[in-house]
Assembly symmetry: C2
Homo-oligomer: 505 residues x 2
């Protein structure tokens, strides 16, 4: 059995762990346990699962010191950032607790038997039910919030689906400790093995999505990772959905009056947004469109100075650091001039320097408009807002698109930009930055390919929809129906005979 190793990106030191890559026999056991756990999880009901999610949040927080220390040693991310990320993971579990208590997410609907233009219609009742065990692939860049203890896991458990988690190879010990924290909360509530389990190794990931008992897969990762997982899914006789959150450039447009009005402030915001967490965020702005005028010049000067005087960042792993250096060199060769790049001592670990590149429209080409994972941003200088349509249409569709406006910027120009960005992004940000995704009811974290492969979100309350399927009952006796679909149930909002009826409290 292959031993799983862990690497500290701060010094490049590799160590063996007590974990082994999950072989086929062990995978079979784990997926079997997950299948059997479905009944317990579903049997908890909405309110029982809400309590479970709260208990998981508490269990994660009770282990905060150890979890954050493990993640620091495996990701090189800053302590404060990881501490905040653990809070976010707990917030996500608690948010889904609220979603369950609210109950609207099951989309309960009742059509009583009635005469219709097509004759007598039967009684039909519909709600969303769990899909069954799901596979979740952890991300390199969020050891908590998009990994074993992440939003996909929280959404799956909330939906009533056991989750088998493919641990990201960058942080196996953090993954193991996260799974232990969740399992502890499950055990405390009398739950069986298999509600949550982690597996290790690429082969285990492929075998997992090929397993007949797995009903969906979720991934936050690269387009290549999504292709590999989809290829494994395509070997199944029965396709299952893959919800993949992938690659994103996140263009930001700064309009002339915004640059003139608050150029320094925007320079500060852009700098923080593209260098935070080493630029290793799917919402990192990769392109900033800045006017070629005095306000724009001042903004770029200010940004350049911040980058030039900044230090290096430890990147997540050797592969990401190497890919970053390669991509950055490609960007420079593709016609961008280096605007700022501090000299940084790489040390023994995976440290890299941030880079600010610059190009003038119409010099933005496909290479420069692509994603570079890491602390690199390309400033694109434009003369006239009329140039922006074509330029933005050359940027791959993204999770987000942002516009900074000043009081003097033309509303029609803003409307036009919003039209262009709306067609090519899932979230439009005004006078702000795409990083720092709010975890809330109205959030949408998704967008057209290649930012995701599905019309779903992976952040926010509605992300639970990915792990549910509709089921209808026709002329069913009340005692067969889930309580949410019985006539006398009023604790959740429902659609009855076409009319939305709020919950009675």
């Amino acid at each position: 059995m292959n031993v799983v190793t862990t690497v500290d990106p701060r010094d490049g030191r590799r160590s063996a762990t007590d974990l082994t890559e999950t072989d086929e026999a062990r995978l079979e056991t784990i997926v079997g346990q997950a299948s059997r756990a479905t009944r317990w999880l579903s049997g908890l009901g909405r309110l029982g699962r809400a309590d479970l999610l709260d208990a998981i949040a508490a269990s994660l927080e009770a282990r905060r010191v150890d979890l954050v220390a493990a993640a620091e040693a495996e990701t090189g991310l800053a302590h404060a950032r990881l501490d905040q990320e653990l809070t976010r993971a707990a917030v996500q579990f608690r948010m889904f607790g609220d979603v369950l208590r609210d109950g609207a997410y099951v989309e309960a609907a009742i059509d009583h038997a009635a005469d219709t233009p097509l004759g007598r219609g039967p009684d039909v009742r519909r709600m969303l039910v769990p899909l069954g065990p799901v596979a979740v692939f952890g991300a390199s860049n969020f050891p908590f919030a998009f990994s074993v203890a992440g939003g996909d896991t929280a959404a799956a458990l909330a939906a009533g689906c056991p989750a088998v988690l493919k641990a990201h190879p960058s942080h196996p010990l953090t993954s193991h400790a996260s799974a232990a924290a969740i399992s502890s909360a499950v055990r405390d509530l009398g739950g069986p093995e298999g509600v949550v389990a982690a597996v290790y190794g690429e082969q285990a990931g492929r075998s997992l999505v090929r397993h007949s008992a797995i009903r969906a897969a979720a991934l936050t990762g690269s387009v290549n990772a999504a292709r590999a997982i989809q290829a494994a899914i395509d070997e199944r006789p029965d396709p299952i959905p893959l919800y993949a959150e992938l690659s994103s450039v996140n263009p930001i447009v700064v309009l002339p009056d915004a640059a003139a009005d608050r150029g320094d402030q925007i320079a500060e915001g852009l700098f923080a947004s593209f260098t935070a967490s080493g630029g290793q965020l799917c919402t990192k702005p990769g392109l900033a469109f800045i006017p070629t005028d005095r306000g724009g010049d001042r903004l770029v000067d200010s940004l350049r100075e911040k980058v030039a005087t900044s230090g290096g960042t430890v990147l997540l792993n050797e592969r990401i650091r190497d890919a970053y250096e390669t991509r950055a060199t490609e960007f420079e060769r593709a016609g961008a001039r280096v605007s700022a790049r501090p000299q940084v001592d790489p040390g023994a670990g995976f440290t890299a320097a941030p880079r600010l590149l610059e190009v003038d429209l119409p010099g933005l080409n496909a290479e420069l408009a692509d994603e570079c994972f890491g602390p690199l941003m390309v400033v694109v200088r434009y003369h006239d807002a009329a140039e922006l349509d074509a330029a933005l249409n050359a940027v791959p569709p993204s999770l987000t698109g942002s516009v900074h406006r000043g009081p003097g910027d033309d509303a029609d120009v803003v409307r036009r930009l919003v039209d262009v960005l709306s067609a090519r992004a899932g979230r439009i940000v005004f006078d702000g930055y795409p990083t720092g995704v709010r975890v809330s009811w109205a959030q949408h974290h998704g967008g057209p390919w290649p930012s995701t492969n599905a019309v779903h979100t992976s952040v926010g309350a509605t992300s639970i929809r990915r792990f549910l399927r509709p089921l209808a009952w026709q002329d069913a006796p009340a005692w067969v129906l889930p309580e949410e679909l019985r006539d006398d149930y009023s604790a959740i909002p429902r659609r009855v005979d076409g009319r939305l009826t709020p919950a009675v409290e």
Copy 2:
């Protein structure tokens, strides 16, 4: 250019039409018009589109005589059935008008800026917006309700998506006339070309889903058709969703006391359900589990007599008739005994005789448990309800599963059956038949593979979800927002700061 031909299945006569297969140049024009029409359709707003859908329903009904006559000559389906189906098509357009006026389908949500455990959260607002032009593949067996004037078209237009319709080769003239009826309503409201258009020919269908402007595809058809369309989609750089409603066996279980209590009535219902429309319905019951006891024997005798004394049915086309005869012969070879099969004069057209086959548990094998499109049903005799679990788990997942119970049947047996069927079907029918799908808010017409390839419905109000994507606005000025997301808008239900707020009337 290849001329499109039409065949009258009642006499097998083939005639040339004035239509030609859609070549690449024409397809480019049509998809270009559809792309440009998106703005008009979206600009109508919810209420404007609701009026459009009502006008389309009226336009279809105004052409009822001609449309039904065209469909009769191309499908061989009975006049009364087609007349009812046209009503259903109109009902579907009107239902989506109601869905639009209600407005909850956009899932509007507003999270005002607020302090959160993760710091200050920005204002985030989310709703569903149209995907853009979509491709709809018409079905052979529903020339109206699942074709050019069908539910997919109604759902797409309601969502704000222009629809390019691949006409089924079995009914090109009906498709053409349907498209003309819809286009006439669009023109009367001042709409442009391209809101709806039909294309003809297999190559046009493939080119359509490969076209970069097409954002989703919907199909009601065979697994092979879905594979061919998916293969064309896989050639795109950017994947698009395919919503495919495919193959379904629709098992029906008759419990002993139901057979004893109302065997004759159930025999009548089963006969009607499996022979209606020549058994060419995706909800046709292909398997009926009937007890091996006196009640079951009487039920089967009664069913046998109905089948033996019935006549032939004209099937939709030569390919379907030939496939039916081949499959029926395969079923007989696979170990089923012929329970009843009347002698029918095949005539010059595509007439076939219904077949009732019979097999005893545990003799149900994979061949017999598969779908046979056409008027064939296999009666599966069982001794004990305990045998049903394994038998039902050997039936491919289906759109529906049905249970008939009598007053003396054990509730635990019913619960157990519902559990088994729920895991393998999208709609559970009690004491009824799966055919005759009610078009309503709570309907679900979908199920696990191979009955569909997605966790969506193709019938009912929620089928609009297939043609929408979420979009979020962060810190947007009110004048940029769609009216549904402005603070002072109250005409639709919304989720504001996590709480569902009903519409104010």
